[in-house]
């Protein structure tokens, strides 16, 4: 919300600089987004009188002007506009001036003719977005004067962000009242002279049947107005406040709203039929709004209607048919107080926000309802002419929020703030409209009707805090709580330690991406209001996000990508929904690059499997990888489910090549995912004495059928190798030349050790024989 400085000064004699006022506003809780300085922004632009105008010798569209700016010599200026003539007064930006758009005026030659300045339009002065040529100033403008001062451009405009609890401050009057109280300056309401009422002008009768929602409703008819543009000062004023001028009546109502805080509405009286009723809508009732929308209303919506139709959705928007437009002669003005919650609910139902609804929702000052009606009437008669009828009034503004008191213990306020609240502060709050009463530790405060936000003791502590200033509150460390430390989980940290870069991708993906790895089983959770189709479904796998990240990096010439992400996946369940914590990996492209010591190597299944195995191992877990050809989106023969303990905790595999191609990835892509919520607690290592007697290692090489599972082979070695066997692994795998078709040669290295003695040849021979027998029996495999 933008408030010109002059609007504040109309209520309170402020003498501080705009910068000081801005600091005060911040301390009082009114965020200042910017302080604009329109007058300073056009400093150097002066009123110039065109004393001569000749065509440019070399350019049809340019003129050579002689301009008097009150100096001894006239200025020669080359100008491209066409709407000026000798004797006109125009704004002249003199050399050295910086215009609001950043243009610095210099002496220059235009088509051979020297120009000593620039004549300006509204656009160049920062007053409008468009213009039809130069701004022609009134004939009485004093030659040589600074245009900013002559046009009474604002010294400063405060751009404020008003918090939703301070509806009373969404206008100049409320802000001025806060500033006046804070600075101890007098606050004076704008006085309006008595308005002459013509009883021949008959204001419609007003009935309010939904009194709860409209405690005060006022209407007044004004006849015989001439609808023209509002005067320049008001237009400039509204523009600086960020509001576009429309016509005299609308501008006046906006001006009243921005200064006094009361949203008003004007109906074209000749479109109305009979009396006005403020009532609850009938279910299904039609309403054609000013913004062109056609609504079906619901019971409970508060409407203003005439005898035929709804003429306004109360406090939000008028109807298209009843609006003031060109040719309007007679009007009915409305000024009312609508219950904030009512306006809020209707506004949300129809997603229809207006300047009026924003103010009604946050609560306007009930005292202004009548004041605004008087001021608007006076301005309309003054600027548009016309004669005014009586005000029709329903309800009593004085009863709104009347008599609210909040009482509490002063020591409670002091303990919450951590600072004393001496009685001297009550004077400031009294100036803000509160009636303060202290009785020992008991504080009783009568809250002014415009402070809808003050209802509980904590609100009073905030008022005190605003007045004291947060800077005055000491900075103290509280006594430390003693809480048993929680050891961080380190899930992603261990993945990163394995050489992966941590990615963070969005939790929502596209519906198409969802289907890549998860069948359509109806368990997806979709967003009702997604930002785009690409971010419309809560992910059930982290893989699509990682694939997108991989694609982006490969496109940016990265030879290989190894990413890990910890995050949640989401799905429907019988009980409603579930969120699971998962850890996911992706590897593609080169894991090793060409180097002086070796050649580049592309990632394969076992690079990723090793990463997952190590990750499990460091937390005392073991994974079993069980080949599974049925996993969606993964290539058969290169995919497995990962069993940890009894849980199927994850999956790993190569991304189907067609699918990888959808992500523009040619290289094999490997992915893995573990559901962290399913992982059992890892085993904590227990101490065992270290072996004192030497271990023995033996190698045996067998020919197996090609499809054999090495896990099965090693399990058979472990179970058949005797109790001295400590370890067994595949140290060699070969199916090249010399190995019959359909066979594979596996070299098994096993270790033997006894805790109590040194082993003999007989021990290792016995173990070897046992293993050979087991391989024969279990796999029909013979020594090679």
């Amino acid at each position: 919300m933008k408030i010109p400085f002059s609007w504040l000064k109309a209520y309170v004699p402020l003498t501080a600089t705009p910068a000081q006022i801005a600091d005060d506003l911040v301390r009082l809780g009114h965020e200042v987004e910017a302080v604009e300085l329109p007058r300073a922004a056009v400093h150097g632009v002066r009123v110039g009188l065109i004393t001569a105008k000749q065509p440019h010798p070399d350019a049809d569209k340019l003129s050579l002007l002689k301009i008097d700016i009150g100096e001894t010599e006239e200025l020669a200026i080359v100008c491209g506009a066409a709407n000026m003539g000798e004797g006109d007064k125009v704004p002249v930006a003199t050399i050295g001036t910086t215009l609001p758009g950043g243009l610095v005026i210099k002496q220059g030659k235009i088509r051979g003719e020297t120009s000593f300045g620039m004549c300006c339009s509204e656009v160049e002065l920062g007053l409008a977005d468009e213009s039809a040529g130069l701004l022609i100033l009134p004939a009485d403008a004093p030659v040589g004067a600074q245009v900013g001062e002559y046009l009474t451009l604002e010294e400063a405009v405060f751009d404020l962000s008003i918090t939703p609890n301070r509806g009373d401050c969404m206008n100049a009057r409320g802000i001025a009242r806060d500033l006046a109280a804070d600075a101890g300056l007098p606050f004076t309401d704008i006085s309006v002279a008595e308005i002459a009422v013509d009883t021949a002008v008959t204001t419609p009768r007003v009935t309010v049947s939904a009194g709860q929602d409209a405690p005060v409703y006022m209407a007044r008819r004004i006849d015989g107005i001439t609808l023209a543009d509002s005067p320049a000062w008001m237009q400039a004023s509204l523009l600086m406040a960020g509001m576009r001028p429309i016509n005299g009546v609308v501008d006046i109502l906006n001006y009243v709203m921005l200064t006094q805080g009361q949203p008003m509405h004007a109906f074209d009286a000749d479109t109305l039929h009979g009396d006005i009723t403020v009532r609850s809508a009938v279910d299904g009732e039609d309403f054609a709004a000013l913004d062109g929308r056609e609504l079906k209303l619901h019971t409970g919506d508060l409407v203003v209607s005439d005898e035929r139709s709804v003429i306004a959705l109360a406090g939000i928007m008028g109807s298209a048919a009843s609006g003031v437009s060109e040719g309007t002669v007679n009007i009915v003005l409305e000024s009312a107080f609508f219950r904030p919650a009512r306006v809020s609910e209707t506004r949300r139902t129809y997603a229809m926000v207006s300047e009026a609804s924003m103010r009604f929702e946050r609560g306007v000052d009930p005292a202004v309802v009548a004041m605004a009606m008087q001021q608007a009437t006076a301005l309309i008669i003054d600027l548009c002419g016309g004669t005014s009828g009586e005000i029709a009034v329903c309800g009593d503004a004085g009863a709104i929020n009347a008599g609210r008191t909040v009482s509490c213990s002063l020591s409670r306020i002091e303990s919450r703030l951590g600072v004393a609240v001496p009685a001297a502060l009550d004077v400031v709050l009294a100036r803000m409209g509160f009636v303060m009463q202290r009785d020992g530790d008991l504080l009783t405060v009568h809250v002014p009707s415009f402070r809808h936000d003050v209802t509980i003791p904590e609100d009073l502590s905030e008022e005190y805090a605003r007045v004291i200033g947060f800077d005055a509150i000491p900075t103290l460390l509280p006594p430390l709580a003693t809480t048993a430390p929680v050891r961080p989980d380190r899930f992603i940290h261990d993945a990163v330690a394995g050489g992966f870069l941590q990615a963070v991708t969005y939790a929502f993906i596209s519906a198409d991406e969802q289907r890549l790895f998860v069948a359509d089983d109806g368990l997806d959770i979709a967003l009702a209001n997604p930002i785009s189709d690409a971010m419309s479904v809560m992910r059930r796998s982290v893989w699509p996000g990682l694939l997108n990240a991989a694609r982006r990096n490969l496109n940016r010439q990265q030879p290989g990508v190894a990413l890990a992400e910890q995050g949640r996946v989401y799905l429907r369940t019988d009980a409603g929904h579930d969120e699971n914590n998962v850890l996911a990996w992706l590897m593609t492209g080169e894991v090793e690059q060409d180097q002086w010591y070796g050649d580049a190597r592309a990632a394969d299944f076992f690079d990723l499997k090793g990463a997952v195995e190590t990750w499990l191992q460091v937390r005392g877990l073991n994974g079993r990888f069980i080949a599974d050809d049925s996993m969606q989106g993964l290539q058969a023969g290169q995919s497995a489910k990962i069993m940890v303990g009894r849980a199927e905790a994850g999956r790993i595999g190569r991304v189907d090549t067609d699918l990888a191609e959808q992500f523009d990835i040619d290289a094999p892509v490997f992915v893995a995912e573990l559901n962290l919520d399913l992982l059992p607690q890892g085993k904590q290592a227990k101490f065992a004495p270290l072996a004192e007697f030497p271990a023995v290692e033996r190698d045996l090489v067998f020919l197996f059928d090609r499809g054999v599972s090495s896990e099965a082979v090693l399990n058979a070695v472990r179970s058949g190798g005797g109790k001295l066997l400590t370890d067994a692994r595949i140290f060699d795998r070969y199916d090249g030349k010399g190995v019959p078709d359909g066979k594979v040669s596996l070299g098994i290295r096993f270790g033997l050790q006894d805790a109590k003695r040194t082993l003999t040849q007989a021990d290792s021979d016995a173990a070897s024989s046992a293993i050979i027998a087991a391989m024969d029996k279990r796999f029909g495999a013979a020594l090679r």
């Binding site: 905030e462 990163v496 050489g499 963070v504 967003l527």
Partner: protein
Amino acid sequence: MSEIDSLKAQLESLQSEALSAFDSAADSAALQLLRVHYLGKKGALTEVLKGVGKLPPQERPVIGQYVNQAKAVLSAALDRCEATLSAQGKSARIEAERIDVTLSGRKLPAGALHPVQQGLDEITAIFAQMGFAIAEGPEIEDEFHNFDALNIPPEHPARAMHDTFFLKDLTHGDAAEPMLLRTHTSPVQIRTMKRFLAENGEPPLAVVAPGRVYRCDYDVTHSPMFHQVEVFKVDRDVSMAHLKGVLKHFLSTYFEKDVGIRLRPHYFPFTEPSAEVDISCVFCAGKGCRICKGSGWIEVLGSGMIHPNVMRSVGVDSSEFSGFAFGLGVERLVMLKQGIPDLRLFFENDVRFLRRMGVPL
């Protein structure tokens, strides 16, 4: 010439011949052959000794002495030559084994934590050290925990400002309220307090709750998903002064410098009084720069004293207990600390960014 003189001459010539042969030996192997040739069982010296038999017995010991002396001289010379050759051999080997130590080493792949993770870790660690317990909560929330319990009733204007993502056909309770993605980590405050009170009866508790949050807002300075940390403490006599103390300690620790803090009155439905918190600009030390728009201050988080309605919603008596709460945006703090100019970089997952700005382990 007497027999003995002839033998002596023979020995002397043999000795000098041997010494010069030793000196010219090319390597240890050649030297070994020479040792055998001169000092071996059938070597030259032994040959000379054979001539001793022709001598009269009284002269034999004299020659024996000569022979032993020659043996000692040659033996010592051999050892000396051997040592020299061995030293030469080692330095030749060393020279042959010389490597270019400037060649790249065999590197292990280095991963890195995402800068946001680093921020989360640092922030939670600071509060954990101050005795705050770490808590988490669901990202899919109901309206009660995300709004109502936090004193944001349906008609409240602040509710509209939250740009909430709602979930399609996912409802909660008998009234079939729509479920939503939490717009802040504040619902963890409600859930944690309820759980804590059920277990412990009454405060004190101090909690730090990191997590992902969602807002339906996507442009240069807004991401629809981002990270927040909610911090709150409830006890007897918790005051705004304590809030300021914790903020000052936290922000100075996080930014690794003594930052100034400024509280400005503000409005949040869930706190009263509420304050926006600014820190003295970490780029210009408060002098005024582009980042702080010349003000010398940077807004970093929202804070306040927990609203009595919030206390009531979890069953804490606000006349007996009070508390402070604040919520901070992790991305924003990380951007300020690391000088990262653009929020979108966090979610592009460009590995060059992750390697440069991430933290290796």
